[in-house]
């Protein structure tokens, strides 16, 4: 499994056709095919290329919504 630093993860922000990755609880997910992550933004407030673990604690859904997307790596701390 590929390991990502936060800097590497930040490159996958959906801009210029780059894939859209987000992290949660140590896993990195590829959400590029999600309708709700178009252009690397989700519901106005959330940006791709970031660790969203804290954001999800106050979101109207849990981490289970990410589980339908492929895991492409692990986020190193």
């Amino acid at each position: 499994m590929r390991k990502f630093t936060k800097v590497e993860l930040g490159k996958y922000n959906g801009k210029n056709g780059i894939p859209i990755f987000v992290a949660c609880q140590g896993k990195v997910y590829d959400v590029s095919r999600s309708f709700l992550w178009k252009k690397g933004k989700h519901q106005v407030l959330h940006k791709a290329g970031l660790d969203l673990t804290e954001d999800l604690k106050v979101a109207p859904h849990g981490a289970e919504m990410l589980e339908k997307f492929p895991v492409v790596g692990i986020l190193e701390h």
Binding site: F35, L36, K38, Q43, V44, L45, V58, H61
Partner: protein, 183 residues
């Protein structure tokens, strides 16, 4: 634009541009859902489908009402709808509620309907959380819509066998919570 209205919301600490963007996305979700539910409703036929057609129709009409109720708030807050309908579709806060590959599979149609309602429940919960105690008018509107989306979810969930909805179907008028914004 209602200048002081926007100013009051800004002073409450809300990022008004973000709020307006969210309102536009949810307005798009309502109008596109109205469109997709039209197709779903037409395909709810036969012994199984006819029993669900009535609530699909109620949800469809109420989603259109939600669109009509949200749009004035967008303009009050100095926002606007996209000029291009394609752009409007693509910014929707919820994915398209497409007719399933097998349009005769009523259970699959029900899954599409319930997922659309669940997306809406999440969206209006987010707006309520963002505006509670700060932007009273948007909160009141989002809460009214949320009440109806919760009922839609529970109706479709009941038909999927997930448990009793705890609600009766509408008797007469649609949008019992949102109608005050439509007058």
């Amino acid at each position: 634009m209602a200048k002081v209205t926007r100013e009051m919301v800004e002073r409450s600490g809300i990022n008004v541009d973000q709020l307006v963007e969210l309102l536009v996305k949810n307005a798009a979700a309502e109008l596109t859902t109205y469109y997709y539910y039209t197709i779903l409703r037409f395909n709810l036929i036969g012994l199984e489908g006819e029993g669900i057609k009535e609530i699909a129709e109620t949800a469809r009409i109420e989603d259109r009402n939600h669109f009509e109720a949200i749009v004035p708030r967008i303009y009050e807050l100095d926002g606007k709808l996209p000029r291009n309908m394609n752009d409007f579709h693509d910014v929707s806060a919820c994915p398209p509620a497409y007719l399933p590959d097998d349009p005769t599979d009523v259970r699959e149609i029900l899954k599409v309907l319930v997922e659309a309602e669940r997306c809406a429940v999440r969206g209006y919960t987010q707006i309520c959380n963002m505006t509670a105690g700060k932007d009273h008018r948007t909160y009141d509107l989002a809460q009214a819509i949320l009440n109806e989306e919760i009922e839609h979810e529970s109706w479709f969930s009941e038909f999927l066998g997930e448990g009793p909805s705890g609600h009766f179907l509408r008797r007469g008028e649609t949008s019992p919570f949102v109608s005050k914004f439509l007058k």
